[in-house]
Subunit: 301 residues, 2 copies
Amino acid sequence: MNVVALSGGFGGAKLVRALVETLGGDGVTAVVNVGDDLDFLGVRVSPDLDSVLYALAGVADEARGWGRAGETWNALDTVSTLGGTDWFKLGDRDLGLHLVRTEALRSGEPLSSFTVRAARAFGVTATLLPATDDELRTFLTTPAGTFSFQEWFVARGHRDEVDAVDFRGDASAAPGVLEAIGAADLLLVGPSNPYVSVGPILAVAEIRAAIGARRVPCVAISPLVGGRAVKGPADRMLARLAGGTTPAHVASVYRGLIDALVVDSDDDVSGLDVQPIVTRTLMEDAESRRRVVEAALSVPV
Amino acid sequence: MNVVALSGGFGGAKLVRALVETLGGDGVTAVVNVGDDLDFLGVRVSPDLDSVLYALAGVADEARGWGRAGETWNALDTVSTLGGTDWFKLGDRDLGLHLVRTEALRSGEPLSSFTVRAARAFGVTATLLPATDDELRTFLTTPAGTFSFQEWFVARGHRDEVDAVDFRGDASAAPGVLEAIGAADLLLVGPSNPYVSVGPILAVAEIRAAIGARRVPCVAISPLVGGRAVKGPADRMLARLAGGTTPAHVASVYRGLIDALVVDSDDDVSGLDVQPIVTRTLMEDAESRRRVVEAALSVPV
């Protein structure tokens, strides 16, 4: 069975890990957001790709919710001593990946090719792909001005309300993405932020069109539990941009692209215009991860 | 009293530290070799400048003889996992400096300006200057071929005998270097490798000319103790390129540029054509460092 999951960094990574635990890695392809990639201290950082990679490689810091377990922060400590830019928290283990990726990109290797290599080097059996090899960047319009994703999210602590999300860059799907979608028996949208994690993937016109033209079900997992985001500002953004924080509001962002929505049993499914699949959606351990995957797979393929 | 010391990374750093301990930092200027600088994993590494910086900042790993105390190697560990180039041992704390320097150089700041800033940030009171802001690179001709300094020294473990040392790049003295030499009451040449540590400094024609035209004494400290180098391949290089490993052979490399040589009491000063200053030259602690500085300063200024 071939499954393609659209993924951001936190919820998406958990879903992809759950898929691999349940189905094995061979048929699983994660198509990952790159809209919040950034160049920092001269290295290219791909936070969402790396979160999925670390989750699948078993080296993620699960308690912190980002970055690598057993991480140290000594390079950044020197950067701070020197008065350098240190608002983005680059760990030492993490930094090694960015150094090698930056060299690969500079030498002309596409991000997708590097990502496949990196996943293999970390012993990951699933296929990890960036949505695009092109530079697609997420910008947020807020009352305080327009910011790149990481300026808004990290440097300003996502304190500014978001009035609009825009994507800059003319992006084609990375090699392998459309093929994986075409060969999938099931398409999934991870429980990531619909606007800033899944949105940049769907902003690649070829990917949106391929999902729109699907002949297999597409199932999203709601990022909400009891009307609140498990992590991050998805609930505040849904309230402001979609008018509320129910499953119906989540589904409205994916109009025409999903056939079912896995929703938490604490949420109210009234007004939902796609098939609801109700379960406990919090993925805290292997059992709860399996429960979410089984719910998503329960849609008749 | 103003003192300028030409310095490589290990012996030179010890001498500069000794000078600062004895005279205070205000009048001390270190002019440091950059011939073994390299670009590695996309960052610019200046091993000798950094050794002097770390020694003066009190953050050097004295037992290991290079790099920083309390260092970790987690970034390089990831690089190795990914199959990246990992033959040059970049520690995490060290890497932070390279990241900030690389960004500074890319933005157009000269190396000398960055070095002055970095030294200040680390609380160093002496003046640290690269010999040149231009790219001057040391190459070694050996029976196995021609290598850049770090390829020969680190990647190949300096196992190849050296038939010739060449410097590539048309280099001017960095801002401040000629002024410091002109204002010095005493010029010193650190107990560094004459060919690959001091040689690249003297390969800057303006610096060689300024030292040649000096009106104050220039005193070198021999890197030998009992005919052997304290660290590194200086003895093997002297044997092959100068015909022996006595103080006279050291002085022959500096012909016309020095007036006196501080030599270890285990060495034979016969044939030496500059003034010998005999003492114990090994700098193992504050007392021995002071002894070497006092020997060098004993030359009538």
